[in-house]
Subunit: 346 residues, 2 copies
């Protein structure tokens, strides 16, 4: 048993973790481990949006993006997913990860101009970037051998960690929680730059990407996931998308992962922006929609036990104000962090 | 909005509460307020046990107890409940409350001799007493105007309190949590004193009494409680009774309250002894049996909203080693805290 907090980020606590030192989680979980030399990671969400049939510019934009990724300084890993949003638009979101912020910065300046710097007919584009110090970030995996998201660029996986399977584990896995309550500071603001809209959020904005992979499940387990768990998960994701703002969820996307060959996969993830880690904690712990998700997952896992083939993971970041970048071009007003600000000109 | 921790027990924190200062609970709850002069309360569980038809000595014992209660120094309030235990015995438990430990001590010495100091044919008796400083104790009520248990002897009820409706609220309501993790110290030990068996437990043993009152419910709400909530609650109570030891629950009783006139009431409560507050927290937050209880209760309350007539309350104490007393006479080996120790002589 090891701590989710890597040794080199352990510090003298001014805040206690939520469980006693002899706490034993009831089942194993693992976290991504970066090389100690990695002090920041970058996660960049490149979104593309259109209504109805895909305009020619949409496919071209994705090709252009792939070209940028393949160029000098491109990401160590990227994946792609799609979803239909609440305004009826199709969205394709490509998430790219770096473990070297200098490399990212050099790459990003021209890439940003190519992505949100030119209008494409019938296509909206956006980019949402966090570049947290690793002390503001945590991951959690239900099993080894298949990293997802930011964990793909990590050095490897931990052994079994202690800080999971209790409410508050998410916070306790973030190294900064040893000394900082990570309270939010301020409100999101809109910045107009011609047709480009930027959102300046605030200190301690929180991002979660929380995924599931049912590609290894068979027969009865697959049926149990698709019939009993997925619909409850979808209902919770829809709630956050449509009614999340009142409880501190600025935006939520429930994404279907697209395989490398462009086909549909048996993986999905929810990705959401939150006013604070505390707001995310409150929803997860006590909102009826997540209590139902948790109940369905508990029933599923207690029915199947260690034989369950469903894979679950998440990554959570609480970003400082200067670790964030949000830019939208030609997107509808409920896209991503635009939903958190008033974009209509009086 | 006020803190559950009374002003005169507020102290400089070395430990943080689990929610930010601007946390707003989603529905109102209240706590019992004692007069500031009250520095300890006493809760004494007087149990009586028999198998099959009630022996003549059982009714006589209850009459004797009522006589003791009515005498000089008797409790400010008492109530009575019954349950059939896992060994097939009927148990009648009378809980009595004092807010003056000196008065209790004077009263208890002869009362104890009368209760667990003489053998009654076919009848076991036990007494389980906590006498915590109020800083080691908390209560919670879903509504005003009908105090239960220890709250009956309080000065009154608070206004709406902040520290509830999140996991960790129970701990945050206990004033000692401001500075103390309340970790358990040691293991329960059996002390033989002739036929009397005493259990010396350990520092920071935890007691919860958690009750429900459906007497005001009507028609569809009553049906919802009895059909959808109560069976799930009973399943969780049975789990704690039969399999609780492995997760730190020494004993659990799911009691039916007996009205003052001796008839059945529409009130029940679970009462359990725990190795630590942390063990109780872990069960409540993540064990499938309580997750189902919580899910059923959430569904019930979100269906009914503020019109719900079901009343819920609890009281929780984390007792210091010298605030406890457990004594059993002629009881079976799984009675109360006896279940936590080996009583068979080699």
């Amino acid at each position: 048993m090891e701590s989710a907090i890597p040794l080199h980020l352990e510090t003298t606590r001014t805040r206690h973790k939520r469980v006693p030192d002899d706490y034993q989680p009831p089942y194993p979980s693992f976290v991504a481990r970066y090389k100690p030399a990695v002090n920041r990671v970058v996660m960049a969400y490149f979104g593309l949006q259109y209504s109805g049939a895909a305009p020619p510019g949409a496919m071209q934009a994705l090709k252009d993006l792939a070209g940028l990724f393949a160029g000098e300084g491109g990401p160590s890993h990227w994946d792609r997913a799609s979803y239909a949003d609440q305004a009826g638009y199709d969205n394709v979101v490509t998430v790219a990860y770096w473990d070297d912020v200098t490399r990212f910065d050099a790459w990003f300046a021209p890439a940003r101009e190519a992505w949100t710097g030119r209008v494409r007919e019938g296509v909206g584009t956006f980019v949402e970037v966090l570049r947290p110090v690793v002390a503001r970030h945590e991951t959690l995996f239900s099993s080894l051998d298949r990293p997802e998201g930011v964990a793909v660029i990590a050095d490897g996986m931990s052994g079994e960690v202690q800080e999971h399977a209790y409410w508050g584990g998410m916070r306790d896995r973030i190294p900064l929680s040893q000394t900082d309550a990570m309270a939010p500071g301020g409100s999101p603001e809109l910045i107009r730059d011609g047709a480009r809209l930027r959102v300046k959020a605030h200190d301690n904005l929180c991002l979660i990407r929380s995924g599931q992979d049912w590609s290894d499940t068979e027969a009865s387990e697959r049926k149990l996931y698709l019939d009993d768990v997925e619909p409850v998960l979808r209902e919770g994701m829809d709630f956050l998308r449509d009614e999340g703002l009142a409880i501190g969820c600025y935006a939520n996307r429930y994404m279907n992962v697209i395989a490398a060959d462009g086909s549909a996969s048996e993986k999905s993830y929810g990705q959401s922006w939150w006013k604070s880690l505390a707001a995310l904690e409150r929803w997860a712990e006590s909102h009826p929609t997540h209590v139902r998700i948790f109940g369905a997952a508990m029933k599923y896992l207690s029915t199947l036990g260690p034989s369950a083939k469903l894979r679950l993971y998440h990554e959570v970041t609480v970003a400082a104000a200067d670790e964030q970048f949000f830019e939208y071009l030609n997107c509808h007003a409920k896209t991503g962090m635009l939903a958190a600000v008033e974009t209509v000109t009086a």
